[in-house]
């Protein structure tokens, strides 16, 4: 396996709080990589730094064989990293289909002139955008809700829609921030299938999750953050037996 993402010495402070302390980790091509830790351990901060939403104080990323420019979110997305949000962030008053079509923005070109003239190139590009968006709705299993406003979708469907929108940017790495939060057992099971399907299709997944059972069952490797520091990075079987992890995160009981 080859390394897809390499984070080296990522640090981030918020005033006196060290949210991330020299975090280094490597994610390999094609794996599902779990990032867990107690609340406030810095998982989402790591996501925000990685996706360019908040700058790092030090450290750098290497992605797909080249240095990753994290100075702006759209550059990260263009490099091939797509994300979802812990508190779902959809375009609430756009239809589900339009949400996914927005995701195609990055991989399409039409500008003002093309839009106004609607020449052959723009028309075929638009048709391609709509077609791909519909395929992705199908892929995540909500194609019948395509014309509904995003905010009228059920919670589970909104999560799926957010994944479809992220996939529309053609990522190499999909970063999911607590995708199972607030889901019931059935929805979580379906989500698990979806994520396994993504891996099956060659995508690398970075997963933040509180649901320990889901993470341990799904991930190839897991890293544990505690107070902004990575305390271990290993296969789930070893992570769940590590005393530091049990102390920091699992509350003293072996799951």
């Amino acid at each position: 396996m080859s390394v897809l993402l390499e984070a080296t010495g990522i640090s981030k402070r918020f005033g006196g709080v060290e949210a991330l302390k020299e975090v280094s980790l490597t994610i390999e091509q094609g794996e599902i990589y779990g990032l867990i830790g107690p609340n406030g351990a810095g998982k989402t901060t790591f996501f925000n730094v990685l996706t360019g939403l908040s700058g790092a104080d030090s450290g750098h990323f290497h992605f797909a064989g080249r240095p990753l420019d994290i100075s702006a979110p759209h550059l990260v997305a263009a490099a091939g990293i797509a994300r979802t949000f812990q508190n779902i962030r959809l375009f609430a008053n756009m239809s589900a289909l339009e949400n996914v079509m927005v995701g195609r923005h990055l991989r399409t070109r039409a500008g003002v002139v093309g839009a106004v003239l609607r020449n052959a190139a723009t028309r075929s590009e638009e048709a391609g955008i709509a077609r791909r968006a519909l395929e992705l709705l199908h892929y995540v299993g909500i194609s019948e809700r395509g014309n509904d406003l995003a905010r009228h979708l059920s919670y589970g469907d909104q999560r799926r829609l957010e994944i479809a929108r992220a996939l529309a940017t053609e990522p190499k790495l999909l970063a999911l921030d607590e995708p199972a939060a607030g889901m019931n057992a059935t929805e979580t099971g379906a989500l698990r299938q979806l994520i396994e399907g993504l891996r099956g299709d060659g995508l690398t997944v970075l997963l933040i999750e509180h649901d320990v059972k889901l993470v341990m069952g799904l991930c190839d490797r897991v890293a544990v953050l505690d107070y902004g520091e990575k305390i271990i990075e290993d296969v789930p079987a070893k992570v769940r037996r590590d005393p530091k992890v049990i102390e920091a995160y699992l509350g003293g009981t072996v799951v």
């Binding site: 939403l53 263009a78 949000f85 609430a92 339009e98 923005h105 039409a110 839009a115 590009e125």
Partner: protein
């Protein structure tokens, strides 16, 4: 979507007939002053459509929009009047006005990229006032704008050398100047509607709406929000610049008082009342708010005379009073605007089954 092509053509033909006949119907029925009102309504429709791109599509509250109208108007006034002795043709000045206003749009947009909502409103309001105050005071030490007196004797717009300010006789049909301007304005307004509708249903339009809905998510989706927002400011401003140039040529006079904050608020009301983000609604809003106050101005006096035998309320203050009342009623009973888009209507309603 499923409307047959024949019906579409029929509809277009019908609209063309109505739009061409309208000045005759209005002019012969109510007098040419009302055709003039119609001309102004068309200018306001263009402004409302421009502001709609910024406020309705991209969700950036702009309270200084009239500044771009002023820039277009003064550019025309300076380049085509005896003030500097320049007499550039309209076909050159109008596109230049669009370009310069667009540049000013970027100039306003660039420092305000991080602002939203109230904060953006305050900065844009300030921008609008700055432009007006500049126009008011740029008469010394070097006289550029002629200050509060404004610039007079501006060249009328000429199409193929024919000035639109003078009546024209075509095939025995007498066309006064206001009719000629009407036709020019209708064509340009249709052009702006066309551009807006095309943009709305495009990659760019979706990116604007995405920014309105959730800027962070839009960024994460790979949208370069800086460029896309600046584009919205520039496009909206350029429409305002064109309308401003037309205004200057039509009026043959410009002065800073035409570009007060009240005008910005008026255009914003047209957008909001009509139906933010919905092109037909915005056109309706522009038409209503441009025509109704005039109707009140002319109608209020005689009606009171008839009912009470004398004029109790000054028509001018009554106009503002009724205008305020209308605003409150519309916001109360149709918060999404008079003619909102289907999506927007759903947005303001409770989630259905």
């Amino acid at each position: 979507m499923s409307v047959p092509k024949r019906n579409v053509r029929l509809g277009i033909a019908l609209i063309a007939v109505v739009l061409s006949a309208l000045p005759f119907a209005v002019g012969l029925g109510m007098g040419n002053a009302w055709v003039r009102v119609l001309d102004f309504a068309l200018l306001y429709i263009m402004l409302a459509l421009g502001l709609n791109i910024v406020v309705g599509f991209a969700g950036l509250l702009d309270l200084g929009y009239i500044a771009f109208y002023a820039i277009g108007a003064y550019l025309y006034a300076l380049l085509a009047s005896p003030h500097f002795g320049l007499h550039w043709p309209a076909w050159a000045v109008l596109p230049l006005g669009a370009l310069v206003a667009g540049l000013f749009g970027i100039l306003l947009g660039a420092p305000t990229l991080r602002l939203r909502g109230d904060y953006l409103a305050i900065v844009t309001l300030g921008f609008g006032e700055i432009i007006r105050i500049f126009l008011n005071n740029l008469n010394s030490p070097v006289n550029i704008t002629n200050g509060p007196q404004g610039i007079a004797r501006i060249d009328p717009i000429r199409v193929f050398g024919v000035p639109l300010s003078k009546p024209l006789e075509i095939f025995g049909v007498h066309l006064p100047g206001v009719y000629l301007y009407y036709y020019l304005f209708v064509l340009l307004a249709l052009g702006i509607i066309f551009v807006t509708v095309r943009l709305e249903d495009s990659r760019i339009g979706r990116a604007w709406v995405a920014i309105r809905e959730d800027e962070i998510a839009a960024k994460a989706c790979g949208i370069n929000t800086r460029n896309v927002k600046l584009l919205a400011f520039a496009m909206g401003a350029s429409f305002g610049g064109v309308a401003g140039g037309l205004f200057a040529g039509f009026q043959e006079f410009v002065s800073p008082e035409s570009f007060s904050l009240m005008e910005s608020v008026m255009v914003l009301c047209m957008v909001v009342l009509g139906g933010m983000g919905h092109v037909p609604g915005v056109v309706l809003g522009g038409l209503l708010l441009a025509v109704l106050p005039e109707a009140l101005r002319h109608g209020a006096g005689p009606v009171q005379q008839m009912l009470f035998g004398r004029v109790l309320l000054d028509p001018e203050s009554l106009r503002i009073l009724l205008f305020g009342l209308a605003l409150i009623l519309v916001m109360q009973y149709r918060p999404a605007g008079l003619w909102p888009s289907a999506t927007r209507r759903r947005e303001f309603s409770k989630p259905g089954p």
